[in-house]
Symmetry: C2
Subunit: 275 residues, 2 copies
């Protein structure tokens, strides 16, 4: 554990896991606050970190599913981490976030793997978009809470949210250059958070901010630490889209691309909406 | 519990959950056998069924993540089901499949929700493919095990597996009409299995069957029982694709479409391969 948390990047501070003996705890961050609780990406990264820094953990993040069971209140929480199964080159972990009398507020399963060399193939190329440096940043005063912790440069499908709902559905797809603000080198932890760093697809298609909450999110990591070290990037291209909005739930797919054209992670989530 | 399991469809037989007091058990099915264990779709459906038939379950399947932790041996297993969190209109369940001395061989998390009416929107139409009735069925003697329990009619990307690996990667995408064989009306349970009823994408791109195993699979259900009753279908169009094959792991995306053009479910999985 770092001796002086003040030196930490705000993301590492917000997703810190503290150990007192075998008890693991964390705390919500006001900087990464969302509508009615912490930014889901910060919660995901905190839960992944709790398993990642466990002494028995072997291998690198391969898959992470986070289920957002209930609103998380401002303040502290406990993190229960359990190694469910250890194989020769992979591990399965179960993680629960527990808050006071509320009980379990989030659950997660994580798979870690020691990735061996193999044939490599990426069928599709990164979308051809305007480079980040030629695009303006979204003004950071336009939103409060967690969006201020990222630099957003929309190549397409930017936020145009009004006070009333669209009559006709707008495009659900956005391509946006994402970076931590201040910059931070991308690792598995920040990928697990950036997978959730998109505005709700329902806001885009209906052109307005409506009640919304992620229910479950799954992220697959397509690179290991060596691959990420070779990229050594602080920003990436996020592409988000949706298949369907129906009976109060909608999905979201996300691709996270390195500027060099490498697919770092893919993610999907299912979210509640009221519209 | 049905009094005479002989009357059950093979799928319902293979995914049966038996209750003795509070103990839940199941058994692998030889009909739905895969290379080194049961068909992952049957395991997923069995775990979903264990929660679905629990007395405290409310709402309908919204999200299901299954982690395949270790090979499941032929024979019986216990299923541990736990209601982690119940909200006003949603529930979070945790499910574990435990086998003798092996311990936990699979874990799952399931979200159930009472789906309320809302604005509906499906941005993309079903792919325009040849209707099922104009396509030949894959000869059922071409494969052993679980593929014989489905009728496959490939509209594109059919299996052309040889003894040696392709030099050049073939297309990872398949569009295939899928139905239980014998026919069975599609419900959430069969959707949870059909989400896994694709041949490994690595077999398609490399043109050969290589060591392969699903590690984790997540399925989102975009319809409820009323929607499925309105469709009343026994077959659907499955579209599978992949983003990346790298360092022994590859992803797979899947869309399950009703013949009427409605997106019933989407799924993604991450799988190990050796090639």
């Amino acid at each position: 554990m770092p001796s002086d948390p003040i030196d930490l990047h705000p993301f590492d501070q917000a997703t810190r896991v503290m150990a007192e003996g075998s008890r693991l705890t964390g705390e919500t961050s006001d900087l990464y606050w969302a509508f009615v609780g912490p930014f889901g990406g910060a919660t995901a990264a905190t839960m992944l970190r709790a398993a990642l820094q466990h002494g028995e953990r072997r291998g690198e993040p391969l898959a992470l599913t986070v289920n957002y069971c209930a609103p998380i209140a401002r303040g502290g929480f406990d993190i229960h981490v359990r190694l469910v199964r250890a194989n020769r080159s992979s591990q399965h972990w179960s993680i629960e976030l527990v808050q006071g009398d509320e009980g379990v507020v989030a659950t997660a399963t994580a798979v870690f793997a020691e990735r061996r060399p193999s044939w490599s193939h990426q069928p599709e190329a990164m979308p051809d978009v305007t480079p980040a440096e030629q695009l303006p940043s979204l003004p950071s005063d336009r939103f409060s809470g967690w969006p201020r912790q990222y630099d957003f440069r929309f190549a397409s499908g930017g936020p145009h949210f009004a006070a009333t709902l669209n009559e006709e559905a707008a495009d659900a797809r956005s391509a946006v250059w994402l970076a931590d603000s201040p910059p931070r080198q991308v690792d598995a932890l920040s990928l697990s958070a950036m997978a959730d760093a998109f505005f709700g697809r329902i806001f885009h298609v209906r052109g307005a901010i409506v009640p919304f909450g992620t229910v479950s999110m799954t992220t697959y990591f397509h690179v290991d630490a060596a691959d990420l070290a070779a990229e050594a990037i602080t920003g990436l291209l996020g592409v988000a889209d949706a298949h369907v909005f129906h009976k109060s739930y909608a999905d979201q797919t996300a691709e996270l691309w390195s500027p060099s054209g490498r697919l770092l992670a893919t993610s999907q989530q299912i979210a509640y909406f009221k519209a």
